[in-house]
């Protein structure tokens, strides 16, 4: 540092000290202003999400006579009907997630390989269902899959089957309906991450003599895994708490976690037990998402912001 600039620095210093107070005051005012902009939104989230869930958590800690106890949670291990609900829920969630991978990966891969224009047209087929009411889509599957529905009518007319296949109001119906609803949640983040894979890496592989299949499995597939993981986690987590499709297509036989919560609170007015179910569901959801974020360093909720 030259002598001249050092002396200049010293000359500026008293000014800086004088300014510091007013600068700090300014920064504080700025922060208060920003907090004021955030507070209405944060207040609503607190009022409608945090407070009620906290309240339910508190309720879950007391048994029916108002005594502090773990009875509401102990039930989950003791009553066969609860265990069955959990088993059903995880069975559905795993099956749907698996089906989404099998259907979604090829679609996302195709989308990522198509020219821009064609890809954006094909994307409509993913985005339109994504924004179509879950009720509408569940209704459609009921019409298609029920006893006298389209699939059974067609197959019987063609003589393929003599008796209608049981497709709706059972496990199969729930899985088909839910796969349709969850598929975009897998395809969208997967497609977004596939688009970021550098084509030059693939080209280099092929130039060095790798077959198309080897290029895919040794270069493309490993690079697409983070996007796949993101889609997997979000689909699985959404499946665990899903309500509409199992409630309408389960025929009362496929009782999933969320339906159990609805029945316990609405039908039996057992708020403690329903709340405990909710607390565990939330804990599992947050644990899975937290684990994902910790492992991969990104949020699994990216599906909503990349559009």
């Amino acid at each position: 540092m030259s002598l001249a600039s050092a002396s200049l620095d010293r000359a500026v210093e008293p000014d800086r000290a004088l300014n510091a107070d007013s600068l700090n005051a300014d920064a504080r005012r700025e922060a208060r202003g920003m907090l004021a902009l955030l507070s209405p939104g944060l207040f609503l989230v607190f009022a409608v999400i945090i407070v009620p869930i906290g309240w339910l958590f508190w309720l879950s800690l007391f048994d029916e006579s108002g005594q502090l106890s773990a009875a509401n949670y102990a039930r989950f291990f003791e009553q066969a009907s609860y265990i069955k609900t959990f088993v059903t829920t995880f069975k559905v969630a795993f099956t749907v997630t698996g089906a989404c991978v099998l259907l979604g990966y090829p679609l996302a891969y195709m989308l990522s390989q198509l020219p821009r224009r064609a890809a954006s047209i094909c994307l409509i087929f993913v985005i339109l269902p994504f924004w179509t009411s879950v009720l509408v889509r569940t209704y459609a599957w009921l019409v298609i899959l029920q006893r006298k529905g389209l699939v059974n009518t067609w197959l019987m007319d063609l003589g393929v089957i003599g008796q209608p296949l049981p497709l709706a109001n059972n496990f199969a119906g729930v899985v088909i309906g839910m796969t349709h609803i969850m598929l975009p949640f897998l395809v969208l983040p997967l497609y977004a991450s596939m688009k970021t894979i550098d084509v030059d890496c693939l080209r280099a592989g092929m130039n060095l003599g790798a077959s198309p299949a080897a290029t895919f499995w040794q270069i493309f597939f490993p690079l697409s895994l983070p996007g796949l993981a993101s889609g997997l986690v979000i689909v699985f987590v959404l499946c665990l708490g899903f309500f509409v499709t199992p409630a309408l297509m389960g025929g009362g036989k496929v009782i999933m976690w969320a339906m159990r919560m609805e029945q316990t609170t609405s039908l039996y007015s057992n708020w403690g037990a329903g709340a405990a179910l909710g607390v565990v569901l939330l804990a599992v959801t947050l644990a899975l998402l937290g684990l994902f974020q910790w492992l991969l360093g990104t949020r699994a909720t990216g599906v909503w912001s990349r559009r």
Binding site: F46, I49, I53, W55, Q113, T132, I144, M261
Partner: protein
Amino acid sequence: MSMENALPISHRQRLWLYALGGLVMLFLIAPSVIIVIMSFSGSSLLEFPPQGWSLRWYESYFGSLEWRDATVVSVKVAVMTAIVATLLGTAAAYAINARTLRMTGLINALLTASLIIPVILVGIGTFFLYARIGLNNTLTGLVIAHTVQGLPLVVLTVLSGLRSYDMNQEMVARSLGAGRFSAFFQVTMPQIRFSIVSGALFAFITSFDEVVVSLFISGGETTTLTRRMFNALRDQIDPTIAAISTCLIVLSIVLLSAAQLFGRGR
């Protein structure tokens, strides 16, 4: 054909991939297409393709006082939700983007919490809270609950708009003497208005299609369209619902196209 993805693999070698992808696309779109076609059926049997055509299911929808009332409730709630969520969400996105506050991560997580918290838990919790303060079966209660569901989409959409906008422009306006608010409304807002409108449309559609929370907190005079549909589907499969579903599908297409159009305008 563009060169961006040109791998030395011909389209013919890829036919199997296109076939597979096409089948999955068919799986995704077929249910909506079938419902739209069946809504014009002349018979009350659910046959496909329909033997005859008519508008009777639309007449039955628009002629029914119950369905009409429910539709009016849903439209009112969705419009108010879109307005409230857009105001609160845009303000919040602006504050997050300014990065003057600590704990932005936590704030972000809170504002977008309703995307990942199981909606059944929110429904039960909100019902429980509303029962204490008398907000069940009210429009106000519905708008508040739906605003929280729509808020994340507004925040994320506007935030992505702000990220591609140079905040220095607003600073320049302010250094030239514009007040905080006039700088925002005259300089920033015109440039992010497309994101704001998209966010509002997403909030509208989120509210209009919301089922689970409405199932718990709406009823009587404030029964939403989706709640009535849900209950109708529990009983029987009435083809009137095909007509309503078609209207909902058309609404989704219109709103999405609007959002796309506005998104392009940037």
